[in-house]
């Protein structure tokens, strides 16, 4: 992992309580690692007045209390982190397997995604579950993972009219992106399946099952397996056991 001192980023104020830190304007695993490393270093440094660090694709925000720190001091303290040798490594990422029941009433848009790309439904499932995805960031909805690494072979435009209700656990495709709705929400993604696993659990800390840097694989399961996992979840059995980690 490259040290932060070799990394170029710049500061921009966002309003009077947030500092935006920007890296190169592109989505790539390398930029992602730089964002992760710096956000982790800022958190660990416990800079006075810094309240919250929100990392994204190629930028992060640091919410601060202007009564406790000036923006100049905050920027200085963050620049200083570059020269600290211990702040350069990002902690190891996890491999997470997310079971998905594809198609049927849990994945109503699977036929469309297949037809749009001149494939069979089985092809779409094989392609979608055959890749490993990087969680670039969490945003949009509580626990929603922005995943990178989907094959262009199953890329499909969004619905012309978003659905008013997309159930929690829905696995969708939008353009060349794929993602999982952690909570029920309106949405325009093409839904190809559903996971029985809850990706957002409000009473747990952290509440999001996935975190930036995680490697995600989707594992096809049958409807019976889906129902079985849901039924066991109702009884309060921990779901991580079924995901192979962490």
């Amino acid at each position: 992992m490259k040290g932060l001192d070799a990394v170029d980023f710049r500061f921009r104020p966002m309003g009077d309580r947030s500092l935006l830190i920007e890296f190169d304007e592109l989505i790539s695993p390398e930029i992602h690692r730089q964002v992760r490393a710096l956000s982790q270093a800022i958190e660990e440094a416990e800079i006075p007045g810094a309240r919250e660090v929100i990392p994204a694709y190629r930028s992060m925000a640091v919410h601060y209390d202007p009564q406790e720190t000036s923006i100049e001091d905050l920027c200085l303290r963050i620049r200083e982190l570059e020269s600290r040798p211990d702040a350069h490594d990002v902690s190891g990422s996890r491999r997470v397997r997310v079971p998905v029941c594809y198609g049927g009433d849990l994945g109503p848009d699977l036929p469309y995604v297949a037809q749009h790309n001149g494939l069979t439904e089985d092809d779409v499932v094989a392609i979608h579950s055959g890749a490993t995805y990087l969680v670039y960031m969490i945003g949009f909805l509580p626990g929603f993972p922005y995943l990178g690494g989907m094959s262009g072979k199953i890329a499909t435009p969004r619905l012309p009219e978003p659905r008013t209700r997309t159930p929690a656990g829905s696995v969708g495709v939008a353009g060349t992106q794929t993602g999982v709705y952690p909570i029920e929400s309106p949405g325009g993604w093409r839904i190809i399946g559903r996971t029985p696993i809850e990706l957002f659990v409000a009473h747990e800390v952290p509440p999001a099952r996935l975190w930036m840097g995680d490697s995600v694989e989707f594992v096809p399961i049958s409807r019976a397996e889906f129902d079985g996992i849901r039924a066991r979840a109702e009884t309060g059995e921990p779901q991580w056991a079924q995901m192979g980690g962490p």
Binding site: G15, E25, E52, Y57, Q67, M137, I138, F140, P142, P207
Partner: protein, 368 residues
């Protein structure tokens, strides 16, 4: 030990000052859209500033108090009525078991706050009692109040206090100050000029997520979309259509539209009070100016806190009433609309005041 909801109104939710520290997990802050009004309501009651209260939207609820407790109504003037008679705002009010609080015609602002001495007792979720409806998080089962709900409270004693007029915020139409950026370069000079020199009307589909505006289109210099990045409350996104959206407390944590500016913290409470149809204007301000305005407001709150601690806001009157034979110490309390409690040399009397609006207003009574 609770408040019964006889009618929930349009949208009444439990809110505190929001859920800090979970944005990285995609959880928006939520909390009071006008945090200043909630803070002042709590201070008047002797609560911590961030205690949970009710956020009442436009058409207020009807509540029945099942026990004695102190409340304050702050924020918007939504025509609050206490047992059918107009209730004073920005003042600690003693509710008696059986009293009713209702709301009538909105007069100014959109969101009123009903705070309770001791606070509303709901279980915190992710360190906050705020309701975030979209994820059914926090508050009362993650939802708005409904008829028949019983809201548990932890009633604590309080005192009569009235907020000095200079602290009562004006929900006026003065320009909202913005710090430009962080994507100024995504807009043409003309686009920025349009934004700062035009009036924008608040659209009816505005909500706690954002204030959607209609007005002269703001020209982008290039694409309107950016790689999704974190946002903050007050940030002004301009999608390709050119009409701005100002983000409020239920906003997403990240967004993919270029942002022309951000409303400064000192003006955010007033932003939580804008109503569909209102005309908004924006004025650029430096970061230093934004911080100065925030310091001024917080200095005011500190002054208020000290003044409360010193008893400076207490508005119960003790009078000396002399008769030819002796002098009595008389304490007069406003107890409810139409009811006054009089304590003469330590003995309490409840006095019903008839036709008090025309003949014997409680204020006149207090002044002897």
């Amino acid at each position: 030990m609770s408040i019964e909801v006889l009618d929930p109104g349009l949208l009444t939710t439990v809110q505190d000052l929001g859920r800090a520290g979970y944005e990285r997990y995609g959880v928006p802050p939520a909390g009071a859209a006008d945090p200043y009004a909630l803070r002042l309501g709590n201070l008047l009651l002797g609560n911590e500033e961030g205690e949970a209260g009710l956020e009442v939207t436009l058409l207020g609820p009807t509540l029945r108090f099942e026990e004695d407790c102190w409340i304050a109504i702050t924020g918007a003037d939504l025509g609050a009525r206490w047992n059918g008679v107009e209730a004073p705002l920005w003042e600690a009010l003693p509710m008696r078991a059986g009293d009713r609080l209702s709301f009538g015609t909105p007069r100014s602002g959109v969101r009123a706050y009903v705070t309770v001495a001791g606070g509303v007792a709901v279980t915190p979720v992710l360190s906050s009692r705020s309701t975030y409806l979209r994820a059914k998080l926090g508050g009362l089962d993650g939802r708005a109040l409904k008829t028949g709900d019983r809201l548990r409270i932890r009633a604590m004693p309080a005192r009569h206090r009235r907020l000095p007029a200079k602290f009562v915020p004006m929900y006026d139409s003065s320009p909202f100050h913005v710090v430009l950026g962080p994507q100024e370069e995504r807009f043409t000079q003309e686009g920025i000029h349009t934004f700062l020199s035009s009036a924008y009307e608040v659209r009816p589909d505005s909500d706690r997520m954002g204030v959607r505006l209609e007005g002269p289109r703001i020209r982008h210099a290039g694409a309107a979309d950016i790689i999704s990045e974190p946002v903050c409350t007050g940030a002004i996104q301009v999608p390709a259509g050119g009409e701005p959206i100002v983000l409020l407390v239920d906003r997403q944590t990240t967004g993919g539209y270029a942002k022309i500016g951000t409303v400064i913290s000192a003006d955010l409470p007033r932003l939580g009070q804008v109503m569909p149809g209102d005309q908004l204007t924006f004025a650029a301000c430096t970061l230093a100016e934004a911080h100065r305005r925030l310091r001024e407001r917080e200095a005011g709150v500190s002054e208020l806190r000290k003044s409360i601690a010193a008893g400076g806001l207490d508005c119960r009157r003790t009078l000396q009433v002399s008769t030819p034979t002796r002098t009595y110490a008389v304490e007069i309390d406003r107890q409810a609309a139409g009811r006054v409690s009089v304590r003469v040399d330590g003995t309490a009397y409840d006095v019903a005041v008839e036709a008090q609006r025309n003949r014997v207003p409680p204020d006149a009574g207090e002044q002897g």
